[in-house]
């Protein structure tokens, strides 16, 4: 599997800088309400992400502000999707993605750009990356396996 990062001046990416990390596969069989866990140490972002996703019909099961909380919440709430900030105070989101990806689809997010992480996103077990400023229910949907 090879990840092609969007390059400035290259072919325009139809989904902006949203980056699928797995094989792209739209699943129409699972079109009901999606459940999500938001993991970020930044209150403001968690609050806004929840508001936005809920407005778009997502079911936000919970929020976590660090890795240990995230692991606990994921085991308990069993969300379909974990929106995971790359920068967490205790453990890097890149490592946490590996631990979580067995049971949920992990979408990494950051206020930085995907290119800031070079090729480290692709080995994380996450199925995609969305820049925080471009977060939306559709953007998440597009990245899910």
């Amino acid at each position: 599997m090879r990840i092609v990062l969007p390059l400035a001046g290259g072919e325009p990416n139809p989904r902006g800088s949203v980056l699928p990390l797995g094989r792209e596969r739209r699943s129409d069989d699972n079109a009901g309400v999606r459940t999500v866990l938001i993991v970020d140490d930044h209150d403001g972002f968690r609050h806004r992400a929840r508001r936005l996703l809920e407005a778009e019909g997502w079911d936000v099961l919970g929020e976590a502000c660090d890795a240990s909380e995230a692991l606990r919440a994921a085991a308990e709430l069993k969300p379909e999707v974990v929106l995971l900030d790359v920068h967490l105070p205790d453990v890097s989101g890149l490592y946490l993605a590996q631990a979580l990806s067995g049971d949920a689809a992990v979408v990494l997010t950051s206020s930085r750009d995907a290119s800031d992480f070079a090729d480290r996103l692709s080995g994380s077990g996450a199925c995609g990356f969305v820049p925080k400023a471009e977060l939306s229910g559709d953007a998440l949907d597009a990245l899910l396996p």
């Binding site: 972002f45 992400a49 407005a55 925080k132």
Partner: protein
């Protein structure tokens, strides 16, 4: 054997045995005058530069009648061609005057007449450099010129010339030796001479200071044992042995840096040039040694300060990235999400959309404020536009504590000076606010001796450590890069004075 031959032999022997003609002159003059039957004899030489005027350097007479003549003779200084000695000096030929009292060119004619001297002869003493002295003989009765006698005396004169030349060469060598001694004594570099076995021949005062030995104690000792650290001794001896065996001396006549050892065993870096002294016999060597401890120290400090400045610049960049990321960028992310949500609510829930837009506006204002703060921290625009005085006035009004600013003269300086002075004050004010527990602060800009003086004084608890925080350390490096200096005076309980002195003579 006649009187002339006897005299000639006696004079020649005296000259050959004389170590110094000056001391031999009286005996030579007496032998000539007595042996040949003349009443008065005198020798004349030029000054030390070998040029006239001629002065009488020795004379001989027995009869006190001639005392006045000797007195006048000794008082004269004769130019070339002047008087009998001057004439012989000029022509290089012997001369004979039957009656000096009638001679037109004889300044001592009157006193000669008074004491009764009549006839005079004079001959040159010559060396390869020409005439180096003249000798004159006087007698009471008129005597006709004796060509044979003049020839004999001229031969003796040439022997005297050789003796004089020998003395001059010895004097010159002696002066050269004294000059060399004086140069060695005054030299700033340590100068050490050794023989082919490595024994010390010479150890000048600078060497005494550098290595901590007295010359008297080390002359004749093995140099390597005294001033070469044990770890380098074998290499030194092998190098000397190789040179003696093969003539191959890679360290000769070039600058090398090595480690030396002082009398107390301490080691230090030195700079060394070794020269072989080109004299007959086994080779001897001279080493010129300079203690470069201070230079090494300065070089190390310069390298460290450069490294610190690079590190500080890198750290500042990282901090800037973090500040942008944690501050304005987070706000803009929030703003984007708010706007997206507002748009989606525009039709279904216009009131909520309006409230979201309100929030977005506040978020934008906060982002703008944070960016402005950040930009000002990087480089305040007012510093570029208006210079140090208005920039400091703005800084002071924004300070956390009551701060009084005094500026001697609002003059513009080169940007590096203004920036350094500004950040000195900014950093000092930040430190005061953080650590000093002060109630008021004074900031003063003044000028002293071509330097801009920046002082920040507080009435806080003192005890600030100049070597401590990276902020002050970085400032000290900055100020040092402009050839200035940063001092921190902070006795516990008595407040802190941060003082930067930055050369600004334009």
């Amino acid at each position: 054997m006649d009187a002339t031959e006897t005299t000639e032999q006696a004079v020649a022997r005296t000259l050959a045995e004389a170590a110094d003609l000056r001391s031999a002159y009286p005996r030579v003059l007496r032998l000539m005058a007595e042996g040949l039957g003349w009443a008065f004899a005198a020798a004349w030489e030029p000054g030390s530069d070998g040029a006239p005027p001629l002065r009488c350097v020795a004379s001989w007479w027995e009869d006190p009648t001639y005392d006045p003549f000797e007195g006048v003779t000794c008082s004269l200084a004769l130019a070339a061609g002047e008087g009998l000695p001057g004439r012989v000096w000029e022509t290089g030929q012997p001369d004979w005057i039957v009656d000096v009292t009638r001679d037109q060119n004889f300044p001592r004619a009157r006193v000669a007449k008074t004491v009764g001297l009549r006839t005079a002869l004079c001959f040159p003493a010559r060396s390869v450099r020409g005439v180096v002295a003249v000798v004159e003989l006087f007698d009471t009765s008129p005597r006709e010129p004796d060509v044979e006698l003049l020839r004999t005396l001229t031969g003796l004169g040439d022997q005297m010339g050789l003796a004089i030349e020998r003395r001059r060469a010895e004097e010159a060598a002696h002066i050269g030796e004294r000059r060399n001694r004086a140069m060695l004594a005054a030299a700033l570099d340590a100068v050490i001479a050794i023989d082919h076995r490595g024994r010390i021949l010479d150890f000048n005062p600078a060497a005494e200071r550098t290595f901590g030995y007295e010359a008297g104690a080390v002359i004749g000792e093995d140099m390597a044992d005294l001033i070469v650290p044990p770890s380098l001794r074998e290499r030194h001896r092998a190098g000397l042995a190789r040179f003696l065996a093969t003539g191959d001396g890679p360290v000769l006549d070039r600058r090398v840096e090595l480690i030396g050892m002082r009398a107390d065993g301490s080691e230090f870096p030195l700079e060394l040039t070794i020269t072989r002294i080109d004299l007959p016999g086994p080779p001897t060597f001279t080493g010129y040694v300079r203690d470069i401890t201070e230079r090494k120290h300065q070089e190390a400090e310069l390298r460290a300060s450069r490294a610190r400045m690079v590190q500080a610049a890198d750290e500042a960049r990282r901090r800037l990235e973090r500040d942008l990321h944690d501050g304005a960028q987070q706000r803009l992310v929030g703003l984007a999400l708010d706007l997206r949500l507002a748009r989606s609510r525009m039709d279904s829930a216009p009131d909520e959309a309006a409230r979201l837009l309100e929030e977005a506006t506040d978020e934008l204002a906060a982002a703008t404020r944070e960016l402005r703060e950040l930009a000002r921290g990087i480089h305040p625009a007012v510093l570029t536009e208006g210079g140090l005085e208005p920039a400091l006035r703005t800084l002071v009004t924004r300070a956390a504590l009551p701060t009084v600013l005094t500026v001697a003269a609002a003059v513009r300086h080169a940007p590096p000076i203004e920036v350094t002075a500004y950040f000195t004050v900014a950093e000092a004010l930040t430190n005061v606010a953080r650590y000093a527990e002060a109630t008021e602060v004074e900031v003063e800009l003044s000028y002293d001796n071509g330097s801009l003086i920046v002082e920040v004084r507080d009435d806080g608890r003192g005890g600030a450590d100049a070597a401590g925080g990276t902020g002050l350390r970085g400032l000290a490096d900055r100020v040092a890069a402009l050839d200035g200096r940063l001092d921190i005076h902070s006795p516990p309980g008595e407040g802190t004075v941060v003082r930067a002195e930055i050369p600004c003579a334009s």
